[in-house]
Symmetry: C2
């Protein structure tokens, strides 16, 4: 008889955001009169910018006529989009990345989950703790993480790099040597980041020990400080050790439009084997491209009008971030992040666990946040609020929290 | 140092359609004056139907306003689309499939490639030979296929079920018991299919030996004969042994729009473990939904106007199929398929190999087809032409072939 992938059975509970959704739904149906403000899941609320809407309408029209209809997209994405990406996200920053090193996808979540496939099952991964749960979960499914200890909430074969207030949220080089290092910078969930020179140290370390860095730059658009790198390829030597994942979800509000890309430099090799070729093969075999309409939307992100509109959108969310941060500080909370990222990371008051604080906030302020422990054991005792709500809701949520 | 997934190194050459694209590009650049007609890759040419274009414009507008903006989609797809699928593709045919057994995705290629992930590495797969290459290739990448013999072009741990003119393209139960059986019906590339009662025998066989059937119904819309099943769930007992993959690429021309779905019945279990829960977990962890705009496009496929327009579109392509079939027969070729599928499968003349005939046709008629051997060893000596071109091109291609 057929057998299942037993690794799935090792996954504890369900995916973090599904659990939150269920808890909120239960509270909501028991208390239909309460108006709940959601600052939990990192989903945007502002509409798609006009320049992008215009580009999508145009592309939809093209799809309706035989002469301009587009069928299967080129394997790695349309040239027009890959060129726009390279010009704006790389060449403009002095990074030597070529258009054929860009792989367009349906989003960074897919890429984050799938990228581990091209690596050996025996590789050992290192992750910042806390961090976006997909890195660990996708490696659990692939059988790379050993056994789970429900007490410590840690996997025996994962190297955790704690990022807490104690080390100023800067991961330290692990004692054991990892093969694959996941870095999400600016970090989800803490909203903190590291300087360019600190990132350079990670690149040097990876090249020295022979590790590959999976660099998730989904929140890059929110960087406001000048000594923070917008791409890992701003660091010398990153092309021989790093893969970069990028999303259009947060800089352009594409959570429901779906677009992302991954950079695999041609110089990145393992014993002479090109990882670029491997990822191209994976794309060619298991993926058929992002929709034409969506790739045109991505192109409009880099148009002059698009850039101006999105700058305003990012500023809108960062105003929320500043509002949350200042409001929480005034209410006596200890708060981190919110300067180079749309996330605010707070210490739970009165020694509450993260989930205790989640319930407390949901029941008493009708505000939904995300328990820090959902992102890793070192997230326990912390809590994430996002700046992706509307300004009005953000202000209202802060009022409620202050009045607790 | 980090290591790669060595299974990738076992894959012989590159993906079939990439090879064809390169050959055509080379011929084209050496002979810029020649006008090439492409009946190779299964890509559609007719524009998206008006009812669907209208739905997409409406959805694009919604994305441009805060009140109607849509962020992250529900994990398994929007309810409006899953309901439309269930009503039209299942309930209308007497199949008891519920909306929460439908998983909306970005296309059947992704699902075909990813579905093997939830199964044990030790499972043994059986495939029709010839067949769509993704089933075998994705299992090679996962390490399930053993070693490759370049002489026979077969994998040591894959069970091949030859489908040739000798057995009327009906796969026979294999001598060794498989764990996972891939069935693509109507078949790509042969364009042939089996009757509903023959499919029932496969369902009974799978339930008896404890195998799971991965049923790819991408070409279902082209079925014209009444004794052919439109879904495997028309067969008794399929809910305990079969997963069904469906595409919008061929019935609605979504090759560049990207939409598909997979049915995993709740009754499908392995030692008590629900495969539905596993696939839900896979979706929740590694995928963030198909675009809202595209899911609205999918909904329009099932509208009254959409259904009428798509019926015409399918008829258009099937007229091409009939044209190719009749034309080739007149020219003395032995031809199969084209009745319940948009593919024509021909025996190469004069003992030519499939690739020899590919080159012969490209160079002498400037017509691109697909070598049968690219779909498996039993495809050697056969050749695939698709009905997805324009009618004018199809007629012109047949003229050229007749004049060879």
């Amino acid at each position: 008889m057929f057998q299942i992938n037993e690794n799935y059975q090792k996954l504890p509970g369900s995916y973090l955001f599904s659990t939150i959704a269920k808890k909120v739904a239960a509270y909501s149906s028991a208390n239909p009169d309460k108006s709940i403000i959601r600052l939990g899941i990192g989903d945007v609320t502002q509409p798609i910018a006009p320049a992008i809407i215009e580009a999508m309408h145009k592309a939809v029209d093209e799809m309706g006529h035989a002469e301009t209809f587009h069928g299967y997209a080129p394997d790695l994405g349309y040239e027009f989009l890959r060129k726009a990406i390279v010009e704006n996200d790389y060449k403009a920053r002095g990074c030597e990345i070529e258009a054929d090193e860009i792989f367009v996808s349906d989003g960074a979540k897919s890429d984050s989950g799938n990228i581990q496939e091209i690596f050996s099952e025996n590789n050992r991964i290192a992750v910042c703790d806390p961090v976006y749960p997909v890195y660990v979960d996708s490696n659990v499914m692939a059988g790379r993480t050993g056994t789970y200890d429900p007490k410590t909430e840690m996997w025996s074969n994962v190297i955790y790099m704690p990022c807490t207030a104690e080390n100023n949220f800067v991961p330290e080089f692990p004692k054991e040597t990892p093969d694959m290092i996941y870095l999400c910078l600016p970090n989800n969930p803490t909203g903190t980041t590291i300087t360019k020179s600190q990132l350079q140290e990670w690149v040097d370390y990876a090249n020295k020990v022979g590790a590959v860095i999976i660099y998730d730059g989904a929140y890059e658009a929110y960087i406001s400080e000048s000594d923070v790198a917008h791409s890992i390829y701003e660091c010398k030597g990153a092309q021989t050790c790093a893969i970069e994942l990028k999303s259009f979800s947060k800089n352009a509000g594409f959570t429901g439009v779906r677009l992302g890309y991954t950079v695999v430099p041609k110089a990145l090799k393992c014993n002479g084997v090109s990882l670029h070729d491997m990822w191209a093969r994976r794309h060619g075999t298991k993926f058929n491209g992002a929709p034409y309409i969506v790739q045109r939307a991505g192109e409009a992100v880099y148009s002059e009008a698009g850039k101006a509109q999105l700058k305003d959108q990012v500023a809108y969310y960062m105003k929320n971030a500043a509002t949350i941060k200042a409001g929480l500080q005034k209410a006596g909370y200890t708060v981190f992040g919110g300067v180079n990222a749309p996330y605010i990371w707070l210490k739970t008051p009165d020694q509450m666990t993260s989930w205790e604080f989640f319930d407390y906030l949901l029941e008493n302020a009708n505000v939904v946040g995300t328990p820090g422990s959902g992102f890793g054991p070192s997230g326990e005792g912390y809590f994430r609020l996002t700046a992706f709500g509307s300004y009005e809701n953000t202000v209202a949520a802060l009022e409620r929290i202050k009045n607790l």
